[in-house]
Amino acid sequence: MSRFILRRLGFMVLTVLLASVVIFWATTVLPGDVASQTLGRFATEQAKQELRHKLGLDKPVTTQYTTWLSNYVRGDWGDSPSMATKVRPVVFERLRNSLMLALVAFAMYVPLGIFLGLIAALRKNTWPDNLISVGSLAFIGLPEFVSGTFLIAIFAIELQWLPSQSSIDPGSSFAEAFPYLILPGITVALTSLAYVVRMTRSSTVDVLQMDYVRTANLKGLPPRRVLFTHVLRNSLLPTVTVVAIGIGWLIGGLIITESLFDYPGIGRLLLFAIERRDLVLIQATALLIVIIYVVANLVADVLYAVLNPRIRYT
């Protein structure tokens, strides 16, 4: 098991390295110059040169890359020209905010998705199944800016139950932020719900046809016990994987939702950095998002292996 995790960790480091190259390369070929960005359009050429020299931008690209990477690893993520502050504390604060939003969405769609998926599987090809399957499919196709706008129109503008914008102070506590997390949380949950429902339904339908479920029934176990001990244990395995991989997206990929509600999360931060051509901030944020994705995948793999005794750890 530990060998299996070590191997996966090795792959993970490799993936992150590769991504860091791509991110760095992409930011250096982007039009725009840190020096002119920082100093403004009317700065003298000499001042720009001095700043470039100070930032190491006059060195070869490979040297720039290795310097950047080693600084990143050591925790020195540089200064953001557009925010005129250290990058790392800002990114981590926004990451915390994204985690809060992810938590709220997660707590809504995972239990509900599993529940609906199970109902659909157990009532296969009846009206509850059709309703759930068609309904969840409809939400898969609905972009967040559409569903989010609807939610705002209904709950914020029409009913005035909840705030329409979530532009909280980035340092707010979870309790303070909570009312502002509900609408964006529902928006995210609606999109993810369908994946959980469909995965739970299809794997449960498969498992219900397995010989060992017949065995469990013909042992005379009560139907509830058959479901909880024999069916769920196996049918939720693929769902666990989908959910765990989804965590990466949930934390790092909410650019649209966060922008729509103007919520100060990491996705919103990345968008802001791109708008401002803030290369230092882009690099730091993008690489962190990559790391979150890769860790989520690792968690999914390990979780699957732990839950499934048939997996050989190679």
């Binding site: 010989d211 060992y212 065995t215 469990a216 013909l218 005379g220 176990l221 001990t229 005794p309 048939r310």
Partner: protein
Amino acid sequence: MATIMQGPAPSGEAAKAPRPVFEIEGLHIDYTTELGVLHAVRDVSITVHEHESFGLVGESGSGKSTLAMGSIRYLASNGKVTDGSVRLNGQELLGLPAKQLRELWGSSIGVVYQSPLSALNPSIVIGKQLAEVARQHLGMDASAAKARVVEMLTKVAMPDPEAVMKRYPHQLSGGMLQRCVIAMALMTDPSLLIMDEPTTALDVTTQAVVLDLVAELKREFESAILYITHDLGVITKICDRVGVMYAGEFMEQADLRGLFARPLHPYTLDLLGCVPHFDPTPEKRSLVTIPGAIPRVDELPPGCIFAPRCEFVEEACTIARPPLEEVADEHLSACRRWRIVPPPAEYLREATAALRTAGASAEQGGVLVEAKDTEVHFKAPKGVIRAVDGVDLEVRVGETLGVVGESGSGKTTVARAIIGLTPATGGDIKLRGSSLARTTGKRPRSTLREIQMVFQNPDASLNPTRSVGDAIMRPLTLLSGVSREEAKRRAQDLLRSVSLPVSYFDRLPHELSGGEKQRVAIARAFAAEPELILCDEPISSLDVSVQGSLMNLLMQLQVDKQTSYLFISHDLSAVQHLSDTIAVVYLGHVMEIGDAVQVLTLPFHPYTEALLSAVPLPDPDVKQKPIRLGGSVPSAMHVPTGCRFHPRCPRFLGDVCVNEEPPWREGQGDHRIYCHIPLDELSRLQTGTLVFSGAEPAAGSIDYGEDDR
């Protein structure tokens, strides 16, 4: 005629009438499908007594599993029992509330399934799965349940029960798992035990051990057993009474010996005739074939449902459906003409024909393929897998070499090395005296044409998106280099030669039955006019009657085209039926090889002896000494020293077997045995391993003999 049915009761306790435990009366089961309502089981009745085991025999589609599962009301949601009565210990099961029914399942009714691996939950340890039954029905707490599980596992002769309980299903072998499932089914001492093909998924040696166990448990427990199988040989080991099902109805019911000695329904007679008779003579005869196929239950003929395929049909048979009636003492037949159904021996002589004599071409034809010291070793992370480890074989022109062994013996890998799909890592394979390149990529097309292969599973070996015609034309255009028109003409001829209608040319594989698909695969193999066809378990996954007709087809094509076969099977009956010479392989090495008659008569290699003793023969009068192999085939990564069979050998001598490779002992002709024990000593030890009833008994003078099963 009825007098032949008399004789001592099979159980031997004629004194008091045994108590009926499980009674099914006039049962009807329907399935609602897109095609409408299908009457899958119609008006079926059986009675099973305590200590008795009732064999339910039939081919796929006969409704045997539907009957068994429907009788305890476990049916798919579209299945329904529409009429009849099912009583367990006098209690009516139909109409019983679901909750009470569940209390019977697992307590009064135990079930053993076909594939033990899929019948157990893959993510729960064995001990917990078994304990569940004890906790549910016997009201035991965790520790009492655990003790009960240990007790039951000990009863099914499981070595080290405590360790087994901590294992997951995938960590145990098939035989071990099936013992666990049997232990689970017997946990509550059930009144009824349903066994649904419990040994079909197991190796023949493991099957023998499990069958012994079931026979022993049958004496120990009072349970009435409903034993479902397609295998007439297995029936003889376990069952007291037998019911033969066909398309949802019983054709015949009788006690075991009565049924085999004197079947009174043509379908039973045909079933007995289409499995190879174990009979080591050089004469190669055809098997009985049943024309047509089992009718679909929504397309049943108006009269007797077997009439369209029946040898003895007359007009009256096609008008009204004959009922199942007691025509002799305890012997029920649904045939109007049961009086004229001939004794099996007589029928076999008439309905089958001698096709050829084995070994006839030994002098004339010469050697086609010769494999010397063939080795196929695979590199694995933790060592070398010696799948084939020094095999010498010869296939002569126009003859069949049968290769037999348990799974893991390397028999398939040998074939793949010969055809070049898996490159040999050592040795030399010659075709007509010239060495073959090790991979297909390096062999010229003319060589590729000369060796073809038929695989076990036609579903996987036929491309589902290519029509039958395309599949057969492919080798013609690719290897024989003929034009498309010519290829099409020849492909149609080939379809005819494998007895398929030419209209199948444009069909896709999924529109064909399993047997028809395998016929297409055979036609494809013959298309390139090869010299040698490697048949890798080509009939194992098919119904017995289909197996019979395919064996006839293979033999007829061989006679017509003088093609040589390498026939691989775990089924010794099929191998002996088709082969001129037989090679018995174990763990990548030949243990015994030679003329088929020589291999199957004294002396035997101890491994051959164990296989012969394990093969369930469809003849209750054959006596087989119970020689059983412990454990399973070891991993080819850790081949035992000396004689590789020594850890399981029932005739193990001692250090010599552990330390020294055995010598090849030469018998008659080219018969060779790889063993430390001299041949005359083997002959002496093995007398009585397999004793046939001798000359075919004349009708009316059946000697039941003593029952030593």
